[in-house]
């Protein structure tokens, strides 16, 4: 340890030097925030209470798939395809809504609530880096529920079929549909949930508001469709935010809509609902970008 003696006193040189080493680029910064977000959403390295909701939903998403594959392995003759990919995606759709409703606010709200934005934005992190990282984190965890269980189910069906090669050949298009549907649902729920979370710094308010809008819009669409009389009322089918993903999935897999329902009577097809979802995502993205760019640290 070197001593620097001056007339005013003694200062011990503890080796403070400017950092002159290499630096990694934007990807590293985005990855750091995204990984911190994934850990936060999944409650990793946090107490058990923060794990209950995300891991409970993960168990609900993966549990039936793994149970089904187990039954197929143990009792091959007794088990057939007891649910289709479209049916499973509709179940997963409900879980995705709940997951996004809790994970989106968990990613964005505490940063404002705990006043850490000044710490983030006085590092070489731009608003767009921040937005990209948060979106990447939510896409990763929502995709974990939207895509992975279905892929596991497909692999399970393939490997437990009488002829794996035959099943794969005959159902390869299902794998493509799983990936398309899973990706569309992941983007839809992630962007809308983050947009909702960007409007408040309170997690509970964001979660309740998000669920309220989704469920309320569905109720409103049904009430308008079945009670009101006006020209072109079938278009209210697009008002139902919680109904859009399921109808798109049914259309994609050619499952058909349940008779007598709004979707059945509105007579729109899967691509129509896909366009509606794209419009919703575009609006949500605009809100999200506007809010993040205006964030004050």
């Amino acid at each position: 340890m070197t001593e620097l003696t001056t007339p005013a006193g003694t200062i011990y040189d503890r080796g403070y030097r400017h950092y002159e080493g290499p630096r990694e680029g934007r990807g590293r910064r985005v990855r750091a925030i995204a990984l911190a977000g994934v850990r936060r959403v999944l409650g990793l390295k946090r107490n058990w209470k923060t794990k209950v909701v995300p891991w409970g939903l993960l168990v609900l998403a993966f549990g039936p798939v793994l149970a089904f594959i187990g039954v197929r392995v143990l009792f091959a003759e007794a088990a057939d395809e007891f649910f289709t990919y479209a049916q499973y995606l509709r179940i997963v759709g409900g879980l995705l809504l709940l997951f996004a409703a809790t994970a989106g606010p968990e990613l964005l709200c505490p940063d404002r609530r705990q006043n850490v934005l000044a710490l983030i934005f006085t590092r070489p992190v731009t608003r767009s880096d921040y937005l990209l990282a948060k979106l990447a984190a939510l896409l990763a965890v929502v995709g974990l529920i939207a895509i992975v269980p279905l892929v596991v189910l497909f692999l399970g069906n393939t490997l437990t079929a009488d002829s794996a090669a035959t099943y794969l050949r005959e159902h390869l298009d299902d794998l493509g549909k799983i990936l398309v549907a899973g990706t569309v649902l992941t983007v839809f729920y992630s962007v809308t949930a983050l947009a909702a979370a960007s409007l408040t710094d309170r997690r509970a308010v964001a979660t309740a508001g998000y669920l309220g809008v989704f469920i309320g819009s569905s109720a409103l669409a049904n009430i308008l469709f079945f009670t009101a009389q006006f020209d072109g009322k079938r278009w209210v089918a697009f008002l139902s935010l919680s109904g859009l993903p399921g109808r798109f999935v049914d259309g994609l897999f050619g499952a058909g809509f349940d008779p007598g329902t709004l979707a059945d009577q509105a007579r729109f097809t899967g691509p129509g609902y896909l366009v509606a979802m794209a419009v919703v995502v575009a609006l949500a993205a605009a809100i999200l970008i506007w809010r993040i760019l205006r964030l004050r640290a």
Binding site: I11, R29, I33, K45, V116, A118, L119, T122, P124, A297
Partner: protein
Amino acid sequence: MTAQAPADQTAAQGAVVELRRFSKWYGDVVAVADLSFELRPGVTGLLGPNGAGKTTTLKAICGLLHPSQGEVLLFGRPISRDPMLYRAIGVVPDGDRLYPRLTVRSYVRLHAELQGLTDAGAAADRAIAEVDMGPLADRRLKGLSKGERQRTKVAGAIVHQPALLILDEPLTGMDPGQRARFIELIRIIGAAGVTVLVSSHILGEVERLASQILVLVSGRLAASGDYHAIRDLMADQPRTVMVKADDARRLAAGLIALPSTVAVEVDGDALRARTRSVDSFATALPRLARDQGASLHEVRTTDESLEQVFRYLVGRR
């Protein structure tokens, strides 16, 4: 641009931070008006009472708000146009701005990663050691004392060894031992050629930290330069001394006779004396008390607070 470019530029150009006629207003409220100064390597204290515009000034330097008028340059460039300047800056904002569930190590490491350091773990460990938080590195932030959280924030700010370090009220919540070690650290960092700007509303803190000070009052620069020189300029200002004694009224009669005493006010067993010389007052008081048979219970100056200094500076403007 390389990481050391700003520091190199500093050496070439001198001023690390330069405010040119910086003003910031919110609607009709003027937070800072026509502020100009330069910062060079070493520790500078930014002093001012609440609402003086310290945080607004610091936020402008950090690029967290845009000037309504004027310019704020870091290393000769506006930070709003060059986010990579943050590679050369370390910032400790005021308040509890932390992720409470992170450990000290993971918090500092996150900041190392945000700075793009290749060996973030080693850099985090070094910064944690610098602020004497090594033994607590694996503790969660929410379980730490305020002083420990402050030191963790500082570790996050110096993890990339910046050329400019900005600290907003950094000593808040620290105990005397922690303060002493922290002040030593800041002095070392300043002596190493880093430009350090420390805001505070406590005069005594800044006196120990920085020789150069900037005093803000009502959004304007009231004084700047060497701390002691400014204090000497204020030597002719009467100071208030509060005394608690058995017989304050009789003591007051003796004190008013001192040539340096301007006024004495008695309130029960306490008196407040305004004196032009605290030194001569302190010398005369015990003798006077002994002569009058009075017991002194408490003697302290009441206007060492920055508010009084500012009031004086404002009065001179």
